[in-house]
Amino acid sequence: MELAARAVSSALADAGLDRNQIDGVIVHPAVSETAFVDELVWSLGLEVRYATQVWGHGWWVGSLVSEALGALSLGHADRIAIVYSSSDSSTNIGFRTGVGLPPRQLIEEGFRDFGGASGEMNHIGAASPVAMAALAAQRYFHLYGCEPDDLAEIAVASRYNASLNPNAAHRTVITRDDYLASPWIVEPMRAFDCCRISDGAACVILGLDEGDRTVDILASSGLQLGADQYTFGHSGLGGWWEPARDGAVQARADDDLYRRAGVARGDIDGVYTYDAFTILIPLALEKYGFHEYGEGLRALQSGAMRVGGELPVNTHGGLHSEGHSSGWGAFAEMVRQLRGEAGDRQIADAEVLQWAPLFGNSVILGRN
């Protein structure tokens, strides 16, 4: 709650708003001890006419932006604060694996008949999403002729980008050798393939205002789910079932998103994506058509995702190196970039940036 309060306070100050000007709240609770909507509204002395709370794993940040846009367009509120907070690190949740203390609790979803949302099945000894990322990566390597060591560049690049970000938790650059020396957690995922879970909070304010400090939301799309994909794979890569419909593949995040945003895919100056595990970056780039299926990991070997690269990805370091804020850190970074306030990691003339997670719930932001 303390972190959430600080995040809201900082966001209000940044936006030049008074708390009385916030009339809507969307709360995104984390797995661990977190600020819930009642506590948050009462503690901060807010008076809102629109409040909701969405337990959204780490995937749903884009969906919550869409939720806010819907509420604004329906007139439910004029200015909505989306608030995320987490004490996942200090409360030692079950996702933590392989280092330090054993997890204090196992994730409840891992006990469903169906398994967890990221495929966790505690009784199989696959209690953390890292196991599912490893299954997806193994399948990817098999299908497309890559190998685990190819992921080194993603870890090295993420850490390089974070080294330029004073807000990042992990700013020390690493080399390919450092990566290769890091231990397997769930092979083929090494320690440096995994983000660390973090304490933290974020607040994003959306409204109908325009001003010098605002950025534009050009378009958003919804989270995609289907029987022939699992959380950490795009179509054809994995999944519990054989494809439900003959020859069916989950549609690539389609061109409609870019059309609605009024931009071409090639206009995107930087990509931000959910990277709890390194493998998720090429999978996401492929999903949005920045690369053909199976080409993403190879294409990144050139250093393309680094600040200054061909198509920078997660210039703030991502979940991997800045910290696991479920992706809200990327929204803060996109705003900084579009305002031209990103310092040493500034993308020159950044005009259009995309939150492009593997799950399809994308948001395209443009410079005001």
């Binding site: 079950g94 694996t97 392989g98 280092v99 054993p102 997890p103 204090r104 609790q105 196992l106 891992g110 006990f111 469903r112 008949d113 169906f114 398994g115 495929g119 099945m121 505690n122 009784h123 199989i124 000894g125 696959a126 209690a127 953390s128 890292v130 196991a131 490893a134 299954l135 997806a136 990566a137 193994q138 399948r139 098999h142 231990p183 397997w184 957690i185 769930v186 092979e187 083929p188 995922m189 029987a227 994995g238 999944g239 519990w240 079932w241 054989e242 439900a244």
Partner: protein, 153 residues
Amino acid sequence: MRIGKEFDDLTAASRMVSEPPPPRVTHLSLPHWEAAAKGELALQRCGACDRFRFPISPVCPFCGGLESTWQAVSGLGRVWTFAVVRRPMMPAFWLEPPYVVALVALDEGPRYLANVVGERALDDVRIGTRVEVSFHDEGDGLTMPRFVIVDES
């Protein structure tokens, strides 16, 4: 083996620190675990479209049918994808790391998440490896289906 067992102990969270986490047994999944105790891998088969499915679900993902029966499958399949857990992922588990977690594409169609065990597991598991179910008594009425590598027939 009965429904809701894991809730009996209100200190379940602390218990898990020292014991492997058992599968949750619900009214839906009970037949799966009862069959395992008899040495059978049983899956739901849709009463409308006849297809097997997994994970366990009250509805057929292919046709929406709500009626299903439990039927034993051959227990043969191929590794669809796999991973090797090398660091402990939970405080206690039946298998010591390193152990194999695999998504096994059963001959009947569904993919089943399970451990691949046995002397050959760590050295020989690959995508496409032929595997067969084996059953492991973990006490307290629980039998865990796992898979072992078998030669191509």
